[in-house]
């Protein structure tokens, strides 16, 4: 990982193992995520890339049988340490899910909910500013500014997903984790999300899990290839796709399996 030393590491994982009961889902994964680059996790189904993503904001805590070993740090702070508040961690490390999951509330409420529970806005005026800024960053403002009181679930799939991204941005996170954010969307909506990821790069550390190798190539600067719970290869996206060091990576990106 010598090539990552030039940039500041936002999150680092060292020797992470994840177990579901007796079954080991992640085996000794070490990885660094930085602010300047979008990191993509690729790999065949069931390789553990989503599981690993969910360890980064401790969403695996909600699975009773899940157990995490190793060390994951955010700005050098161990997120699995007993002093770490998981609620605050998840505000700092936001998440966008595979299926768009807006709350069955108004568009405004969807975005305002996070800032409200974290006390980020003083009064309605400030909240309005946060909502507008978040929706603008999510590239949704122009489409919904006249109907903020309509239900978030009435939007199209792509709009819903951008609303979810806006909702994540609204709490001012440092890292945004995206778990296959485009797998339920059509190509046009996907293109918009990819454009959005491009715009958000640099402001937030972004980690995206994707099935789609072309997408990984398009949106990310660094790519990690997972296979059977292990991190096979991690490096600059251009290197991974044009000059993979590992035989398994080469087989996967050339479509031999997956």
């Amino acid at each position: 990982m010598s090539d990552t030393q030039t940039v500041t590491n936002k999150m680092s994982a060292r020797g992470v193992n994840v177990f579901y009961g007796e079954k080991q889902a992640i085996n000794n994964v070490s990885i660094d995520v930085d602010l300047e680059n979008v990191t993509a996790f690729i790999g065949p189904s069931g390789c553990g890339k989503s599981t690993f993503l969910r360890t980064l904001n401790r969403m695996n805590d909600t699975v009773a049988s899940a157990r995490v070993e190793g060390q994951i740090t955010l700005d050098g702070e161990d997120i699995y340490a007993s002093g770490m508040d998981v609620v605050q961690l998840r505000a700092r490390v936001g998440m966008v899910f595979q299926k768009p999951n807006p709350f069955p509330k108004s568009i405004y409420e969807n975005v305002a909910y996070g800032p409200r529970i974290h006390g980020l806005a003083n009064g309605k005026a400030e909240m309005d500013v946060i909502v507008e800024r978040s929706l603008r960053q999510a590239g949704l403002w122009e489409e919904v500014k006249d109907r903020l009181q309509e239900s978030g679930t009435a939007l199209s799939g792509g709009q819903q997903q951008r609303l979810c991204i806006g909702r994540a941005i609204a709490v001012d996170p440092e890292v945004i984790l995206m778990d296959e954010p485009c797998s339920a969307l059509d190509p046009i909506a996907t293109a918009k999300i990819e454009e959005l990821i491009h715009d958000l790069r640099g402001r937030y550390a972004i980690v995206i899990v994707t099935h789609n190798m072309q997408q990984a190539a398009r949106v990310s600067q660094r790519t990690a290839f997972f296979h059977l719970g292990t991190l096979v290869e991690y490096g600059a996206t251009s290197d991974i796709f044009t000059n993979p060091k590992q035989e398994r990576t080469k087989d996967y990106i050339t479509g031999r399996y997956g």
Binding site: A91, N101, P104, I117
Partner: protein, 430 residues
């Protein structure tokens, strides 16, 4: 990836077989059988629906035909000549003091007795309900000037005359009817007393209000106890409790509790609330507590199902932006589960409303002639009142029983309507 490892030619070729004849006889017969099965199934379903609708119609029609009569009463126009009557009441005294008290001390029954005998013969007094005194008293208070002259006052008829006038009487009463009809004294009026009075010994004087109020108070206690306990138990079990042998045991126990016969809960109430805690007997408080024991498991089960039905993606979404578990529950899960919880609650409450057996055990079958003033006053409830009246020998009680059933059914209908309204109001789509 294992499929990719296998070259395509390694898949064994299918053995050769004749092309399927989609138009052949065998196929056509199969299709015909399929259609026949579908028709049979539809007929069967239609028959089942028709049969249940028939039963329902029979119940409603028989209930209405005998019950609606319970809401009316036969009245007799009784001419009273106060000037000639054995006692005199000073209208001035009525204005000065408490008129009810003054009239209660005056010997009104003797006046009525005298008037009835003059108007309808020696049996005249028996034709009037004991409630006739109240009707006369009310008439005097409404217009004291009638005391100085003659007046015709409509008083309720006796049980026998009432039943006979409604076409269901004994031969002796038919004669009274004939006498009364000669003077055109009979009339029918809506029986307001049935809606405002409580239990009594004479069917012409009984009312449903006492039992209705008792039911309302009991339901109130039941709701206040079982709803919060049931909802919090459901939330805890679904959202917080670790999955282990203890929670399994609790789950099985709650499911079993919902199936325990209600009389057992009555005995429990008797043993604990009355004998151990010495709470008042026959009171809505104890009745409500006993029914709450019965309703709570229903709410827990319905609540858990409703909470389970909230999509996990909503929980993930809230957790993902840093909502604490309690915020997830109260901001997202509970509002989305509320329609289901409310429906379950009202179904449980409707069952409790119709429950009789456990209330008999804690003494709510006592004869209570005045409506309860609070949850600790002796009270009875609608189903128990129905049970008590159906046990009475007087013929007049038959229609009162049916009328009480109509009131109970209307109450239930209102509750179920409320359940549907609330469900539609709070239901959200996602």
């Amino acid at each position: 990836m294992s499929a990719a490892a296998l070259p395509l030619d390694a898949i064994p070729a299918e053995p050769s077989r004749a092309p399927t004849d989609w138009k052949g006889d065998v196929m056509r017969k199969r299709i015909a059988r399929r259609y026949a099965a579908e028709r049979r199934f539809r007929l069967l379903g239609l028959g089942a629906v028709a049969l249940s609708a028939g039963f329902l119609a029979f119940l409603l029609i028989s209930m209405m035909s005998s019950g609606l009569r319970g809401f009316t009463r036969t009245e007799i126009a009784l001419p009273i000549d106060f000037a000639q009557s054995p006692i005199l009441i000073d209208p001035a005294a009525l204005k000065a003091g408490n008129p009810e008290l003054v009239l209660a001390n005056a010997n009104l029954p003797a006046v009525i007795d005298d008037a009835a005998k003059k108007a309808f013969g020696v049996n005249g007094t028996e034709m009037l309900s004991p409630g006739a005194v109240i009707a006369v008293r009310k008439a005097i208070i409404a217009d004291p000037s009638i005391l100085s002259g003659k007046a015709t006052i409509r008083v309720p008829a006796s049980e026998g005359v009432d039943v006979a006038a409604k076409g269901n009487g004994a031969p002796a009463n038919e004669a009274s009817i004939a006498t009364l009809q000669k003077t055109n004294a009979l009339s029918t009026a809506f029986n307001w007393q049935f809606l405002t009075a409580s239990d009594g010994t004479d069917p012409t004087q009984v009312g449903i209000w006492g039992a209705l109020k008792g039911s309302l108070l009991t339901m109130g206690v039941t709701l206040l106890l079982s709803f919060p306990i049931g909802v919090f138990a459901a939330l805890y079990l679904e959202e917080y409790a670790p999955r282990n042998r203890w929670t399994d045991l609790i789950e099985v126990s709650i499911n079993n509790l919902a199936a325990v016969p209600s009389i057992i809960f009555g005995l429990l109430g008797l043993a604990i609330f009355l004998n151990m805690w010495n709470l008042p007997r026959s009171a809505a408080l104890v009745g409500g507590m006993t029914l709450a024991l019965m309703t709570m498991p229903v709410i827990v089960i319905a609540g858990r199902n409703a909470i389970k039905a909230v999509p996990p993606s909503i929980r993930d979404a809230a957790l993902g932006i840093g909502a604490s578990p309690i915020q997830v529950v109260f901001h997202h899960v509970l509002p989305l589960a509320l329609p289901g919880i409310l429906t379950g609650t009202i179904i449980g409450m409707a069952r409790a409303l119709g429950e009789t057996a456990p209330l008999l055990m804690i003494g709510m079958r006592a004869f209570i002639a005045s409506p309860p003033g609070g949850v600790t006053d002796p009270a009875t409830v609608l189903p128990v009142q129905i049970f008590l009246w159906s046990d009475e020998v007087g013929r007049g009680f038959i229609e009162k029983t049916s009328a009480a059933i109509i009131v109970l059914l209307l109450f239930l209908l209102t509750m179920n309507g409320l359940a549907i309204y609330l469900r539609n109001k709070f239901e959200k789509r996602w």
